[in-house]
Amino acid sequence: MEPLDIDLDEGELELPADPMHLNMGPSHPAMHGTVRIVLELSGETIVKADVQVGYLHRGFEKMCERGTWAQVFPYVDRLNYVSPMLNNVGYALAVEKLCGIAVPERCQWYRMALGELARISDHLTCNGAMAMELGAFTPFLWFVKAREMVWDILEEETGARLTHSFGRIGGMANPPTADFKAMCGMAVGKILGLVEEGEKMLLKNRIFIDRLQNVGPISGAEAVSLGWTGPCLRSTGIAYDIRKAHPYLKYDEVDFDVPVGTRGDTLDRFLCRLGEIRQSKRIIEQCIERMPDEGPINSDDPRVVLPGKTDVYTTIEGTIQHFKLIMEGAKVPAGEVYSYTEGGNGELGYYLVSDGSGTPYRVRIRPPCFQITGGLHRLIEGRMLADIVPTFGALNMIGGECDH
């Protein structure tokens, strides 16, 4: 039998020499539906990549200028929607810095425990989703099962699985439930067990390792000059963690390590996140051990904290205070402040400007993954098309945060 291609010229088999343009996203499963990369390809090699964001822009900063200071909380939930508690606490700390309020000790431990739970959920989502995008569906289910345990606790505490709106200026919406410590103590062990099972499936898989190792490497100095923070920066070997470098809440009193990588490639970013889950577990265990069972959860500053319901219904002072705080908003002293915490992806900063009224003059969020995504083209240019998926997945771009 004759071969089928017998009458084809050699020249017809060659690929065209012109670069090919390809739109990757926004409707691409690995692009989270919010990022578009305009690629210039030579064969399968990326010659030029233009990363375009903004598909999820909702005018967060403009909306904040229309309500009271307390009405910003539901918006910050929707920035990083896999770790909304870290955003809540970050914003609350920023306003408290501007007001000069310190929250009670019990609240600080509570915020830390909830924040670390949110961090675990953030890292599990990132690592699980990246593995799934590479075709490893089972570990994703394991990680999501562990994430469900985190969300069960958060649901029990706050009433909502995802958008908690639980932070308040000067405290939290509710004190910890009676079962909080027991639930945390039980869950963290189970979560770690599931994570270990899931990571065993991945880290003993030659194909998975090959897809990550030496893919998208970046040097520490370059990552810093791009404004990277968080696990992506630490994977290059620079141990900049705000919880260690500039401790807030009670992070200076707990014992934990900062996992760092060496090569700054995608595998290091993956491993850094796994390491941080273990450290978060350690922090949670110390928090539940040291958090007092009794005591106030909110600061007693009447300028910003709502009075108790009994006072509102039985005393005229309470009614007036409640009315003014709800209708006019807490009067935050005029000034400008930049407050920063360690979010799931890195430095989560809030730059607030107040003109002394009940409405923010300017709320500027510094979303960590905006600059991380801004450096994406440095990682993928010159690489193969298929490397985009793990590289982009390990950066943990969160659309709500990146696009404001």
Binding site: E61, E65, L226, G227, W228, Y351
Partner: protein, 199 residues
């Protein structure tokens, strides 16, 4: 902690540092816009200051200031090695945002690239010498700058027609997937084309 930074800045640039404060522990310097890049270079390169991490850049609009510099461009920097921070501010533009320009610092910190694009997009401050000053969160046809205080929050922007190949900058080999009136919210006739006219 880092009064040192403000002292060094004042010693080096003198009159170009218009004001400083350290409210809430945040060291802040308001600087002459013309010296923006020179001061940035100094902050990056002086071994005692060594600001290597570009943290943030944004614009804050004060329409009431009028000709005195309507928009305040605010830059936050951090030094990983020295563990100190600074906030640098410059006031640019008059009532109509004429002359709202600063020199780009993208060549000093590549991470400022997107932040400068965002500040242009949202606050309308141009960065001279920026390699690629396009809008970033909004689309090219968007009119105005959303975070200026004079931009009404409820303003509706017209829907835009599909871009031609020249406008888009990349070949558009495929046909546009929608007709001109599709994708329009109910009751809006921004393009003034009704379905009846198309049919």
């Amino acid at each position: 902690m880092s009064q040192l930074v403000l002292d060094k800045l004042k010693a080096r640039f003198g009159a170009a540092i218009l004001a400083t404060h350290s409210d809430f522990g945040d060291d802040t310097a308001l600087v002459e816009p013309a010296q923006w890049k020179a001061i940035s270079t100094f902050l990056r390169e002086d071994p005692d200051l060594d600001f290597d991490l570009p943290v943030d850049l944004c614009g804050v609009d004060y329409p009431s200031r009028g000709a005195a510099g309507r928009t305040e461009v605010v830059m936050h920097l951090y030094s990983i090695g020295k563990k100190h921070r600074i906030r640098l501010k410059a006031r640019v533009g008059d009532e109509d945002m004429d002359g709202a320009e600063l020199e780009s610092v993208t060549s000093i910190w590549p991470g400022m690239n997107w932040l400068e694009r965002e500040t242009w997009d949202m606050s309308g401050v141009r960065f001279v010498g920026h390699p690629d000053l396009r809008r970033i969160l909004m689309y090219p046809e968007f009119e105005g700058h959303a975070l200026q205080k004079t931009y009404p929050a409820d303003r509706i922007q017209p829907l835009v027609p599909y871009r031609t190949e020249e406008e888009a900058g990349v070949p558009l080999e495929k046909q546009a997937p929608f007709g001109p009136d599709e994708g329009m919210a109910f009751g809006r006739t921004a393009n003034n084309i009704s379905r009846a006219e198309v049919d």
